[in-house]
Symmetry: C2
Subunit: 209 residues, 2 copies
DNA sequence: CGCACCATCCCTTTTTTCCATGATTTTTCA
DNA sequence: TGAAAAATCATGGAAAAAAGGGATGGTGCG
C-alpha cells in the first residue's frame, strides 16, 4: 500500500524537487500540490492524503496556522513541516499545532522517506539537524509570557515612542507606562531599552515587516 | 549550442527541482551542483559554465560575497542570484557585485529559461515579482552605508551596553561613542535607541541568532 | 474569602541618552 | 599628494530612562 502525499509550498522549485525525488518511487503516491493555503484546503475537501508536506511560509497564511486548521478539520492526516529555517520557535509552534514532523529543505530523499515511514507509524519525526539544534537550545531560548498591555507598550517602544507619547496614545499616565517598561525589562532580562528591543525581536514577541 | 549551467544551493530539494526542470531540455546542459562556496570554487577550477545559479544563503559564505569572488576570478561567467527573499538590499548587493540576474525560487521553468537566454545575450534579468517590488520600494527602503566603527557600536548598543561600557570596550572616550551614536540615529533616521535597534534589525544591519 | 495577577498611579534619585556645536587627527583613495 | 571620509575628543544643557520605593482597585479562581 503506497503512502499518498500532498505538498503545499509556494516555491515551484521545491515542489518540482520533491516530485522528482519520488516520481519513480512505487511506495509513494504523489497526489499533487498547492502553492497557497486556500487551494490546499480546497483540495482536501476532495481528497485526503496520508501525509501533507507543509511549508512554513505561504503567501496567504502562515503554515503554522494552516497546520492547526488542517488538524482540526482532518485529524487523521499527518502534517510534516517543511522549512529552510532551523528555528526553534517555528518548530515548537508547528509541533504544538499538531504536526507529526519537521524537516528542512536540505533533507535528502532518504531522510524524507524516513520521515514518511516514521509518521505513518504514528511517531514524530524531526530531521537530524533539527533535533540536534533543539537539544543545544534546550534551556536557553524561552520567551516570557507578556500581558496584553505589555505587548502594546513593547511594540510602541520599538516604534520609538517615549513614555509620554505612549501615555497619550494609550490614555494612561506616564507612570503607568514606566511600570510596564520596568516589568518588560525584568521579564526579558534586558539591561536597557536597546537590549529589550533586540530580545523582543529575537524571541519574536514583536513582529515587523 | 546548449547553455551550460551550474547551481550552487544548500537545499537539496531546490537542486533537484531545477535539475528536473531541465534534464529533458536539450538546450540546457547541466554541469552539476555544489552545496557550499568552497566546493563551488573548486569546481570552477576544473570547468567553467555559461551560467551559475547562485543561492543567497550558503553555509560557509554569503552568496553575495561568493558572487564577487567568482566575477573577479572568472569575469566571463554569468551569475544569476537565486533566493526565496524578495529583499531589495539583497538584490542590489547581488547586482552590485556583478550578478547578471536575480530570480526567486518560485519562478517557473519558463521564467528560468527566459533568464538564461536574457543573460546570455549580455542583458540583465530580474524576475517579474522582483522588478515589480523594486519599482514600488524605489524611494523607501534603502539601508544606509555604515562605517566599520558605526557597525561595531551599533552591535554593542543592541547588546545593551551603555556609552561608558562601550568606551571601555573599544578603548576610546565616551564622547566618541556619543558621536557615533548620533551619526547612527541620523543615518537610520531613528528617533531614539529603541527605534534604532528595530530599524537596524529590519534593515539587516545587525545579525542575531 | 483569600490569593495571584493585572493595570493603574505616584515619588525621588541617578544614570543615560539626545542635541548642538566645534575641533583635531588618521585613513582612504582617486 | 591632496581632498574627502572616518574616527577621535570635548562642553554643556535638556530630555528621557533606570532603579528604588510604595499604593489602589479589579478580576478570576479554587
Amino acid at each position: 500500500m503506497a503512502i499518498s502525499i500532498f505538498i503545499v509550498d509556494d516555491h515551484y522549485m521545491v515542489i518540482e524537487g520533491i516530485h522528482s525525488l519520488f516520481h519513480h518511487e512505487k511506495s509513494v503516491e504523489w497526489l499533487g500540490h498547492a502553492t497557497n493555503a486556500a487551494s490546499c484546503l480546497a483540495f482536501l475537501k476532495q481528497q485526503l492524503p496520508d501525509i501533507i508536506l507543509l511549508d512554513i511560509n505561504l503567501p496567504d497564511k502562515s503554515g503554522i496556522d494552516l497546520c492547526k486548521e488542517i488538524k482540526t478539520l482532518y485529524p487523521t492526516v499527518c502534517v510534516i513541516g517543511l522549512s529552510t529555517f532551523n528555528q526553534q520557535s517555528f518548530i515548537e509552534k508547528m509541533m504544538a499545532n499538531g504536526a507529526s514532523g519537521y524537516v528542512l529543505k536540505n533533507a535528502t530523499q532518504k531522510e524524507l522517506m524516513d520521515s514518511f515511514e516514521t509518521v505513518m507509524k504514528g511517531r514524530a519525526y524531526l530531521s537530524h539537524e533539527v533535533a540536534q539544534m533543539l537539544r543545544s537550545h534546550e534551556a536557553t531560548d524561552d520567551a516570557p509570557v507578556l500581558t496584553r498591555r505589555e505587548k502594546e507598550v513593547l511594540e510602541l517602544i520599538a516604534e520609538g515612542l517615549t513614555n509620554n507619547e505612549m501615555a497619550e496614545k494609550l490614555f494612561v499616565s506616564a507612570s503607568t507606562i514606566d511600570t510596564h517598561r520596568k516589568n518588560l525589562l525584568m521579564k526579558l532580562n534586558a539591561k536597557n531599552t536597546a537590549e529589550l528591543v533586540k530580545l523582543a525581536i529575537v524571541k519574536k514577541l514583536i513582529s515587523f515587516s
